[in-house]
Symmetry: C2
Subunit: 385 residues, 2 copies
């Protein structure tokens, strides 16, 4: 049900000819109220796609009526024509729903540079098809329509105390911080102000999507939107709501990680006893981006030397000769020296746990990544995406 | 001839049992003078191998009698025992040559964590074999003995006006800045003071080895050494000598790039019209480290969107909508919009030229990298290195 699990939302996912595969490629999610509160977090990439530039304006007042998303083209680096396409898309949705185009978020995903006349025609045709297809059960179709190289749709739901929250996500490549190269739409029927939505969403993305660093590549089109209809009539406990947003973001992040392009391992890099959370993240990310380490995991080789070499490139406080590294529960390095035999480490399960103990202070963080595989190279060399 | 091209040097490369392949694995280069001047540049990785820690002390007075190098084990993260091994290695060389161990540089390369009793025994046996094998033509054997996953030795020579310079290098993986994960020994018979050697070497490595970023992974064992015997009796023109050092470093860097693990393309990323040289390097490096771009080049796909997405992650001054990108001479992106057809770009040659015009100011830099290939994944997953 994804984005239509909570009351007060309609959704549709239709086929507009954008995807060569002929699959659904335009999604529309509409908030039927009574509230139209929203918060959005955008990519930190300085090269921002046209839909990002547009949506950043839409969200300034915290009010969103609808969000329209397309796959099959990123509409990024497509010039003034591309921005006009985004504008026209919002106008078309606004006109059909009789709301202001200025309250319509737009998201695009696909190949950078795609955003010409054909793209515009297809997206606008998709809007025309999607509006009459809107239903209270359309969340599943919408989740299908935002997929690119994803092998499956990503959906999640959580029940609060008298309110619900649901969401969908897409993303399989360019998974890296700020955010993790994806589109995410989360909806709730709880009564929550735009400001509280914003706080909850930023707190959640900081420790979920921002900690997913599958391939170190940051997207130009990332957008995570949280829409609240208030249709339940229930004002949730703030902490409970914040936890639910964090939990649904964490669940969707794990689904993104599990479907990362070509991956054969999901790697959780847990850094403990760092001086600060930021330093723990920096250490985790340095390992997550080390191609040699990632290739070793693919080969089921517990190569802890590559972990330590990666840590050495950071600015985090640590003593290279007082650090421990464990892999899947076996401490292979103690105080910077070989400890238990690497032969004891079993890396055949998909889930891989790397524990790095910096022995400095009490901060901790976990960064999620994937291994570097032949399939990753194949998917990203054989096709343009 | 590599390190024995210049007068005043002896070298040897012997088989001591460190490499499973049975190849030569211990190299020794001796400066017979009359001068024993030297300069060394080390890895900037904070996790430094034992030979780095030792050699940093040796070079403080600018005097070096000999340098001993082994492949088949990095002697990094091997604890106090590993440091003692390095110390004993220098002592063994010093005793055999009747010089101070404190004037003997030590380098190791191979798997991190290897540095136990067997390693020590083999290295010391290698020293015992190498000393009687020293000859004025031993440079080729020495170049073979420092190879790890290299497919061929790297050697270069330059003739000055009455003086010579020669060098050898090893490195195929972990090629990234500070330095590019390698061992390099350069020798000259010119008369140059330690201070002038240091200046020339730092100026050269900054724009050569430090601009080689094959796989973003920084080593723990990098060391570039420059030894001057003064045997020619000629004091070179300072600018001519600096240029020769830069040229030999550039040539060796290109050889390292051409032999990078599994690569099918050498990619030269030229950034022009940047605000500063540092910003040009930052932009070039961001592209060099983008796995999606590197995989696209492997697939002969001129995916300029991935170039722009990478630039967007930097702090360099640029306008995302006023940047041009050319690939192998075809401008595929002009002012942030699609320009000439990507179908015009031929990426089948190994040599790939990416030109990024930031249109900000006059600084420029070129970063060297390689594509991300199946063979890279294979070499770094199927074997521990």
């Amino acid at each position: 049900m994804s984005v239509t699990y909570a009351a007060g939302f309609l959704a549709a996912g239709v086929t507009a000819g954008l995807k060569a595969s002929g699959g659904r490629d335009v999604a529309l999610v509409v908030n039927t109220g009574p509230h139209k509160n929203a918060a959005v977090v955008f990519t930190s990439n300085r090269a921002k796609a046209n839909p990002i530039l547009w949506s950043q304006q839409v969200i300034t007042d915290g009010i969103v009526e609808a969000i329209v998303l397309n796959s099959g083209g990123a509409n990024c680096y497509t010039g003034a024509f591309g921005f006009q396409t985004t504008h026209q898309t919002a106008e078309a949705v606004g006109a059909a729903l009789e709301v202001s185009a200025g309250d319509v978020l737009v998201c695009s995903t696909g190949l950078i540079g795609v955003g010409g006349q054909d793209f515009r025609d297809n997206v606008l045709a998709g809007v025309a098809l999607a509006v009459p297809a809107l239903t209270t059960t359309g969340g599943d179709d919408a989740a299908l329509a935002i997929m690119t190289t994803d092998s499956k749709p990503k959906k999640s739901t959580i029940d609060g105390d008298g309110w619900r929250i649901g969401g969908m996500a897409k993303g399989a490549g360019m998974l890296a911080p700020g955010l993790a190269t994806m589109l995410v739409v989360i909806t709730t029927d709880a009564v929550v102000s735009p400001g509280d939505l914003d706080t909850a969403l930023r707190d959640a993305t900081r420790v979920t999507f921002d900690r997913l660093d599958s391939d170190g590549c940051m997207s130009t089109n990332d957008q995570v939107s949280l829409l609240a209809s208030g249709a339940s009539g229930v004002t949730p406990d703030a902490a409970a709501f914040a936890k639910a947003v964090k939990d649904i973001c964490a669940d969707l992040a794990l689904q993104l990680q599990a479907d990362a392009e070509g991956a054969s391992h999901e790697i959780h890099i847990e850094v403990v006893h760092a001086r600060s959370e930021d330093e723990a993240v920096e250490v985790g990310r340095s390992v997550a981006r080390n191609n040699l380490f990632k290739a070793a995991v693919f080969g089921n080789d517990p190569n802890w030397g590559r972990v330590l070499a990666a840590i050495g490139t950071t600015t985090a406080e640590f003593d290279p000769y007082d650090v421990d590294v464990s892999m899947n529960g076996v401490r292979v390095c103690k105080s910077g020296e070989p400890d238990q035999s690497v032969d004891l480490v079993d890396l055949t399960p998909r889930l891989t746990h790397v524990l790095i103990d910096l022995k400095v202070a009490d901060a901790t963080a976990t960064v999620l990544t994937n291994d570097l595989t032949h399939d990753y190279v194949h998917e990203n060399s054989a096709y343009s995406s």
